[in-house]
Every structure is written in structure tokens, then in C-alpha cells.
Amino acid sequence: MSIFRLGDQTPPEPRRITDTVIERLEHQFEVDPDLMQITPQQDMPVWDSRRIFNARWDHLDWMHAHFADEVLLAGELSETMPEDHS
């Protein structure tokens, strides 16, 4: 049984990634709120951010399957990023 706790749905404090980008949830980047004065950011609960994030992967999987029976990968990690990010 899952129990909904309001506190769990509040995003954690952000971590700065670049001069203009922050990260609150792993691999989910956001424009620095200081740069969103003209177009204010929405407050989003964690579940909604997760939903959008996961839906994105669903969409990409669907698009692959739509155009071909299989996706062939080179089977190699990124040569530009440290191993834990690739």
C-alpha cells in the first residue's frame, strides 16, 4: 500500500549544473528560475515531473518501434562524458 505524503511531493533544493541550468530531480534539468522572470515557472509536484519525464521515454520507445522492428546500438558509452554520466 502506498501512502501519499505531501512532503514527498515537494521537489528537493536545486543543484546548479551550469550558469543557466539547475537540477532538482536526477537527470531532470530546469532553466534557472532567475531567468524566468518574464515567463514564470510553474510549481510542479514531484509526481507530475516524474510523469512527464517517464512519458518522454515512452514516446521515444514508441517512435523507434513505429519506424523499424528493432534499434541497433553501437553498444558504446559516450566518449565526451565521464562514465557515471554517459
Binding site: I17, F67, A68, D69, L72, E76, S78, T80
Partner: protein
Amino acid sequence: MSRTAFKAAIDDHVLAELRAIIGDDARVRPDRSSRAFRSRVPAPFPVHRWAEHFPDVVILPRTAVEVSEVVKLANRHGIPIVPRAGGTGLSDGAVPLRGGIMIDCKLMNQIHEIDLVDRTVTVGPGINMLKLNEELKKYGVIYPDDPASYPCSLVGGRIGTGGWSLLGARFGHTRDLVISMEVVLPTGEIVEIAEGGGRKLRKSSTGLTLKQLFTGHQGTLGITTQATLELVPRPETEFAAFFAFDDYMKAYATTGILTKSGLATLAGVVLFDEKKIEYLRRDDEAYIPQPESVRAVVAVAMYGRRCEVEPASKEIMRLGRSNDGKYLGDEISAGDWASRHDRYATPLHGRDLDGQAVLMSWHCEDAALNYSVLPQVREEWHAIVARYRERYGIFDDWGMFAYTSGSHKPWADYLVEIDVGIWEQKLNDENWAAWVSCKREIAQVSLKYGGSITACHGATREGDAELVPEEMGSAWPVVKAIKRALDPNNIMNPGKQSLDEAYE
């Protein structure tokens, strides 16, 4: 006699005639919301003058005969006709410039025949390629016309604009994939346009080759009411690889190497320049964490049988690294390739001069250029946009890419885009005029380097349209003669591509 100045006058009598033709009031729509909804396109639009682009009435026909009768009525009364399919075009082909009757083909969305023996599918112009391919999947075939607007554009619009496909290097573009058409001419006759007289023939030398004339005319020569399309075997295997470079010229050289590789399964090669990477580094999850040494990217995609794609993929990996290219990894390569239709799914934003994020619409310049001139054009285009950005503060340079453009011949022609964000909320007459001027300067660079203004969107909007006679050069009188012969009353999408000159 000039036939260039009319503005539609649709009165109750004309509406009654239209209702009598269609026989269903729900498919004759003079209401404001139906008209407003069908007036703009996803390209930057003069929103401060939106109402000037409303059609006067929208018709939703179901048959070629209905289209024909409406077109005949338009000729009798001198009313403009504007054909519209998905309304996803990135120029003004489907935007009324003088009001009139809009013929929206969305209800003509049937699959009439799937012929697995002679490998064709015959459809109405209102069908979407994604929906068509969902149906075709069960037969092991695909209609491989894959624009960025794939999830939402329609076959009729693809034919009208002479669309360009992301998989064109492998399978051809729209004009290569349409085998024959039923077309309602500007005078209302219904004709079959094919290779010679064969509805399912790919090649004939009988008579004149009319099919190309009726793909890419931007709705100025008629309305396609049915199309017979190519079916190809559904690909077994997809492979994509993205390579990063610390220098644009290394990426440019690698692009040339890849496109000349002779690999038959090559579906597309894309070169992203430094400005494009800067743009992606702001907001794109794949590029935000990349090190500063990533300054240009080359993307490659292949489709085919596993027995073809697998060995070819090894050669792609070798060639992609041949100028210090670094593989961006499986996740980015597969994921970014599958994201290729995102332009139509994401809310767009850019940066003002203070770096603040603002909502912007997206202009995609889509010149056709040869490989040899890409570096020079890149420099001149960025300089133009920088000048206008600095002066007006409502534009943003979102970088450039060059994408293989020759059907089955990827080695020399490129669709070249500079993507420009435009802060539409700030548009007024002065700012719109500035945008048109910027647009014209960009297009003039393409002509200076022996290119074409547009590889796929069509030269139908201000900043482009007035340059069509210059680009067509000595062939322009021929173009005008054809337009005047087929459309004697200039009712078919008037005001587009400078074709009003045909009536002067």
C-alpha cells in the same frame, strides 16, 4: 487586365450556393472561430494583424466533385480559393492573403486501396502519415515520408508544398513517393496526373511529365483530392549515431566523408553548428551536461535489413571518428534520433538580450545549398541575425544545421536551416517589417551562393516571395505562362510566390 487586387466578397447568396453544393451546413463554416483556427501556421506569424488572414468561409468537402463545384463557383464570382491540409507548414502556403474560400481537406482522410502486389496505397489528401503507417504496419510496409511534422501533417499538404523528408536520402522526398494524383484544376476540372497514363507506374516518357508540376506548387495550381503513394518494405533495423567535434570544420569534413560513403542504407546525415550546440546547451537534456569541447555535432541515421545495417554501422562508427569525432553514446544517439519530430511538440522559448527566457515562435530558414558553400553561408547568416537581434531585441539565433537533401543522392545537396526565435508578443508593424527585412537578407545570401530560397517550406511569405522571380531567372516567363493558362482568373491561392505577375 490585372486580376491581382480582388478581395473576397462572400455574401449570403454565395453562402447559399456553397451550402447547396455541400449539402451539409456543418461542413460550410462562416463562423469566426472556424476561420480564425485555420488562418495561421506554426511559423512566426504577424499576430498583430491576425484577422487580416482569416478566410471568409471554410468548406470541409468529402469528395472531388464537391471540391470541383466549389472551385467552379469561385471562378464565377472571382473569389480566392485557399487549400489547407494540416496547416503545419512553415511558410504561408495555407494562409489566406486575400480572404476567400478555404478548402480544408481533413475529412478526405480515407485509405481507398492498399495494393500489396504493385506496392501502392491510394489515399485521400486528409490522411496523416503516422495514422497511415499504423494501418500499413500489419502488412509489413511503410509510406516513408517523414517530415518533422510527421505526427500532425497531412498527405495533401505534403504534396502541395513538395515536402522534404528526414529519411529522403534513403527513400526519397514527397515528390519521389507520390506515384499519381487526382487533381481539381483551378477551373474546376478533375484530372488524373501521373507518369503517362498509368496510375501505378513509376516511370513513363509519354506526353509531358506533369507530376512534378503538381507537387510543390503551394496550392497555386490546383487541389489534390486523391493520391497513389509508394509502399516500401518496413525497415527491419534502425541505427543512429551522433558524433561530437571540437571544431565546426572537422564536423563539416566528416559530414562530407559520411555522405560520400556510398552506403545505400544511409537515410540522413545532419551537421549541427556551434550556435546550434550553444542553443541546445541552454535547454536540451542531452547537451546541457556536455563539456565545452563539444562545439559541433554530426548525426547519422540508417534504415534497412539487419544484414545491411549491421555491417554498415561499423563503417559509420569508423568514418564518424575519422576527424577526431567522439561518439556521444548509445542513449543520446538513439534518443535524439527518435526526438526528430519535437519541433511540433514542444513549447518554444528563447532568450531576450538580458538572458531572460521568453516565449518565442520558430522560424526555420530552409535553403537548398551545395556542400561547398556551407561554411561561407553559415558565417553570413549568423552575422545578419546578430545584427537584427542587437537592434530589435526580439530575435534569437538558435543555430544552424545542414541536412542531406538529395533523394537517394546524399552527397552534395543540403537543406540548410538557420533557426531564429521571434518574440511574437512584441510584434507590431515596425518589428514585423524588421523581421521581413531580416528574412529577405538571409534568402539573398542563399541566392548569392547559387542556392535556392527554400528546400521544402515554399517561398510563399514576405521576405521570400518577392525573390522568386529572381531565383527562377530566365524560366520565370514559363512559370507565369503556366499559371495563367491553368488559372485564368487567378483564384487559386492568389498572392503567393509573386505569381500575380502572371496577370500584369
